[in-house]
């Protein structure tokens, strides 16, 4: 490691991250200038680019959160986020990862913003999830196998959440709606991102399946002991049909 390089980069990064513009003389000590383009203006380009790039990234990743919050407020909160949670990611696509949590910790802010941000982040994150495996069991193969041999799995792209608002409608209409509890998921079918509301039963199953579980274990789990068999079957069928849940033979499943 070169100490000179570290010293220069330390200075440069501080200068572009700093909220206060330093005096022209300070920049001129480190940076060459010309009569028509002084050192302070030169560093100003990097300072502005830094802020704008990160703010634009948040505005692009959380468009509806930004719209509902109002641009001034969103801008102020983005500035705070950039200052307090500077990027340590190798790629800009990850910068918004903690934004929803950041909003949740702001006590004075309505919870709808952090919930919307969670939802909008799931839409981004979905693109990077694993593809569903290829060796799935077809419905007609299930009958030939015992429940011990069948694994139930949630599609790797599924993000499930509950909200105190009808979040999908809020997001679609881009406006506030009265509170109403909702369960929803974001997932990916091939290349297209899907959103859907779930009923309480389906949500319970989806949030239970955080890892591959044998069918026998699912059926005997006390979480589901009050489920009506008819509702259970119907719910499961719908989840499979919509590619939210799938079955695999236990030999193909990685536990």
């Amino acid at each position: 490691m070169s100490r000179d390089v570290l010293k220069s980069q330390d200075w440069f990064l501080n200068a572009i991250r700093s909220a206060n513009v330093k005096s022209k003389q300070i920049y001129a000590k480190k940076i060459n200038q010309t009569p028509t383009f002084n050192a302070s203006e030169r560093m100003g380009i990097y300072r502005n680019a830094y802020r704008i790039r990160l703010k634009e990234c948040l505005a692009e990743d959380f468009p509806v959160t930004a719209k509902l919050m109002g641009s001034k407020k969103f801008d102020r909160i983005s500035e705070d986020y950039i200052r307090l949670r500077p990027s340590r990611y190798s790629s800009l696509v990850d910068f918004g990862e903690n934004f929803a949590k950041f909003l949740r910790n702001k006590r004075a802010l309505s919870k709808i913003f952090s919930e919307l941000a969670d939802y909008e982040w799931a839409i981004i994150d979905c693109r990077f999830t694993e593809n569903r495996p290829k060796n799935l069991l077809k419905p007609d193969q299930l009958a030939e196998l015992s429940p011990e041999e069948i694994m139930v799995e949630r599609d790797p792209s599924v993000f499930a959440m509950e909200s105190s608002w009808p979040l999908i409608q809020v997001w679609r209409k881009k406006r506030q709606l009265p509170k109403k509890k909702s369960f929803l998921i974001v997932h990916r079918r091939d290349r297209s991102i899907q959103f859907c509301s779930l009923d309480a039963h389906a949500y319970k199953i989806v949030s239970y399946l955080t890892q591959p579980t044998s069918l026998i274990a699912v059926l005997s789990d006390k979480t589901f002991k009050n489920f009506d068999a008819k509702i259970w079957n119907r719910t499961f069928k719908t989840l499979v049909k919509n590619e939210i849940v799938f079955y695999r033979h236990k030999n193909f499943s990685i536990l």
Binding site: S8, Q9, N32, Y50, P86, N131
Partner: protein, 280 residues
């Protein structure tokens, strides 16, 4: 010394143009994509973007261009990032690979910008060691691109071209020469762009980027949102006469026009090479 084959004329493939390339057979010889757009979160995943890229690779040679290697940083090399990139290389099998001669952050922080390096002896020593380590890890040569800049450290004891030449020679890496970046930096810092081009090790130049910028009057900003300007075309033509044809492509990242428009812009580069061959 030149390790990459000559493929001709390419374009930087961006989101709005995927369908043009997937459905049609536009007149380009190869395509460059940004590596980071195909890296999964933690490990490489066969996400939808990568599937699409692999489909395109059936039709066109692919070149991978990175923006996050941060080869000039005082921080240790980011091995986790490099592992993901190497995995991507293994899947995509790019004809050649590149990143930038710059740093993007230090102390683990990332400014997500291509920042200028102090052109000093100790920086050369530092970077050469890192480029060698990266090339060993990837098991292949990388090309390093000159970035456009707005600030130069007063401690610099080399010109930018001397610095680039020495890093490339000592680490045995290739050069991805961005002619627009040379022009933008020459305007901003007041050096002669022809002197820059003249003094590079020409046999190390394996790819050329052409792009547009924004003229702010007293300085230029590298925005990649305009067509290539006349002055840059002149530099490119002069360079062709000096060094002969090189893999050339146009980069456009903002105000992206229809694909055919970029293909037409690229045809100008094609015509220049053709004309030169005729007069040679």
């Amino acid at each position: 010394m030149r390790n990459t084959p000559y493929l001709g004329f390419g374009l930087g493939l961006r989101n709005p143009h995927y369908k043009d390339v997937l459905k049609g057979t536009p007149k380009v010889d190869w395509l460059e994509v940004i590596s980071e757009n195909f890296l999964g979160r933690e490990n490489l995943t066969a996400g939808p973007g990568l599937d699409r890229l692999l489909e395109i690779r059936e039709k066109y040679p692919i070149v991978l261009h990175g923006v996050s290697l941060s080869i000039g940083s005082a921080d240790p090399l980011n091995k986790k990032y490099m592992k993901r990139v190497k995995d991507l290389y293994e899947v995509v099998k790019p004809v050649w690979v590149s990143d930038h001669l710059c740093w993007t952050g230090v102390h683990g922080l990332n400014a997500h910008d291509l920042l200028p390096i102090p052109y000093t002896k100790s920086a050369i020593r530092h970077i050469v060691g890192r480029v060698k380590a990266v090339q060993d890890f990837y098991g292949r040569q990388i090309l390093l691109e000159n970035v456009s800049s707005y600030a130069e450290f007063s401690e610099s004891t080399y010109t930018e071209w001397e610095f680039l030449a020495e890093v490339a020679d000592k680490s045995d890496s290739g050069i991805l020469l961005d002619v627009n970046n040379v022009y933008v930096s020459s305007f901003n810092h007041g050096f002669d762009p022809y002197q820059y081009l003249k003094n590079l090790p020409h046999d190390r130049i394996q790819q050329i980027h052409l792009a547009g910028h924004t003229n702010k009057g007293r300085y230029l900003i590298d925005t990649h949102d305009h067509p290539v300007v006349e002055k840059v075309w002149q530099l490119y033509e002069w360079l062709l006469q000096e060094i002969g044809p090189r893999n050339t492509m146009i980069e456009r990242d903002d105000h992206i026009p229809p694909f055919e428009e970029l293909v037409a812009e690229l045809d100008r580069a094609r015509a220049l090479v053709k004309r030169q061959k005729r007069t040679a």
